[in-house]
Amino acid sequence: MNEVLVWLNDPQNWTGTRSTPGIGDQVAAHLAYTAVALLIAGGIAFPLGLVLGHTGRASWLVSVANGLRSLPTVGLLILLYVMVSPLVSGRGDAVYLVPTEIALVVLALPAILANTYAGVRNVSPAVRDAAFGMGMTGRQVLFRVELPNALPLVFSGVRSAALQVIATATIAAYVGLDGLGRYVYDGLASRQFGEMAGGAVLVAVLALLVDLLLALVQRVTVSRGVSGRFSRRAAGGDGRTARITELAAADPDDLSPAAGDPAATDPVPVPEGSGGRSTG
């Protein structure tokens, strides 16, 4: 553990030298690979998931995408690299970049597609029926009703995809690309345990920060009515009990004997998100 701290504390590792990039540069490279893969995967899977979910047609595409999950990403990366390298040799990093990005896109696609699809499909039939019944067009139903309600699952798909891509972008260094994986494989090759584990720790921290950022974006984008984060604040005292009494007093339906019963008036909070990360 000591070696890791020594490596992480060495300022030279952060700034880098003329010939070797510093940690900052590698983080930037790692993030760039991740962002490109997520944007491409999202650009394909998100609209596709919305349309498939909205129409309910061609759901087999979702199953096919789910089948992609069983592809070993390292194998795919090396296969693509071996295939691509004769074609683009001599064009700088493209020989590493193209196979890496394709492999990462394939990795990110299923989670985003399956969750977006499930999110739209999971919108209650009564809600969809009401939306059409009041005269919304198909497009309005999709964007004003289905999408806002699908957002928690969409986000859980994107977050899951982001985690997997950040984790797997590490292997890009194995075929010769930059990124934080550089430290892992260089450290391994030169038996520098501090560098190796230091790189691993940095990947973990980066994954955590990106997940946190996406969680924040999710918090501001998803309606509180969907996430179930209702304001429990009420004037003074225990917000919860204050709310319950306020409800009981103002509730015209609660003329039944259950009126004072907290269990009867306290609305059941909808759990945030749903299911395991990539179970969608």
Binding site: P72, G75, Y81, S85, A207, D211
Partner: protein, 230 residues
């Protein structure tokens, strides 16, 4: 390592014939490296998930901590494990431990949510019949949570088969080794057979394990078959 067979993707059968013993050995290590963490992970996740369901206050911290664990990249875990366990860097135990952590992280929430999905009136009825807490868990909650837990197991297992392969890049042998071999043999031109063979075996293993879980879940929940058969 070069063989009599050619270097095209469809020469994987020839490659397999030439390296049968070695490939089967890699397949076997890949299998136990993928399965053992799922088994151990499930055994660990069950009581933790139950706690998170049983005590309301325990749910948020447990789900947050396991969620955090889940964000740690597997390769990072493989590399960090030796520091935590005092193992050698090339010890396969690192992979098992790391993937167990990963599986637990995934399954705890699944178990908790699966137990929570058991309808309250069923629980009330069972409690009213005089079942103890343990009987309730064994006879009612667990059986009814099987479909949800099985879904979580499928995700964890399929992910593990893919993740185990990554460990080959730091030198732990299993099917991922075939990719490394192909990579190293492709210096002067593409040499596909081991790479394609590795992918095919990985996918086959993932699908086989996936089917096994589906089948066992179906055997454990005969009442679901009645419903879907209609």
């Amino acid at each position: 390592m070069t063989s009599a067979a050619g270097s095209a993707p469809w020469d994987l059968f020839g490659y397999f014939a030439d390296h049968r013993e070695q490939v089967l050995e890699l397949l076997w290590s890949h299998t136990w490296l993928s399965v053992l963490p799922v088994v151990v992970g499930l055994l660990v996740a069950l009581p933790i998930g139950w706690l998170a369901r049983r005590y309301r206050w325990a749910y948020p911290p447990i789900v947050s901590v396991t969620g955090l664990l889940y964000t740690i990249p597997s390769l990072a875990l493989f590399v960090i494990m030796p520091t935590l366990l005092g193992t050698q860097i090339l010890d396969p135990l690192n992979v098992v431990a790391a993937l167990t952590v990963y599986t637990v992280a995934l399954l705890v929430r699944v178990v908790a949510d699966g137990l929570a999905a058991v309808p309250e009136d069923v629980l009330q009825a069972a409690t009213a019949m005089g079942l103890t807490r343990l009987q309730l868990l064994r006879m009612v909650q667990l059986p009814l949570a099987v479909p949800v837990i099985a879904a979580g197991l499928r995700v964890a297992t399929v992910a593990n088969v893919s993740l185990v392969a990554i460990a080959a890049t730091i030198g732990i042998p299993q099917l991922g080794q075939l990719f490394i071999t192909g990579f190293q043999l492709s210096v002067s031109g593409p040499y596909y057979p081991p790479i394609v063979l590795g992918i095919v075996l990985c996918v086959a293993l993932a699908l086989l394990l996936d089917r096994l879980i589906v089948l066992s879940a179906r055997l454990l929940t005969p009442w679901q078959r009645v419903v879907t058969a209609r």
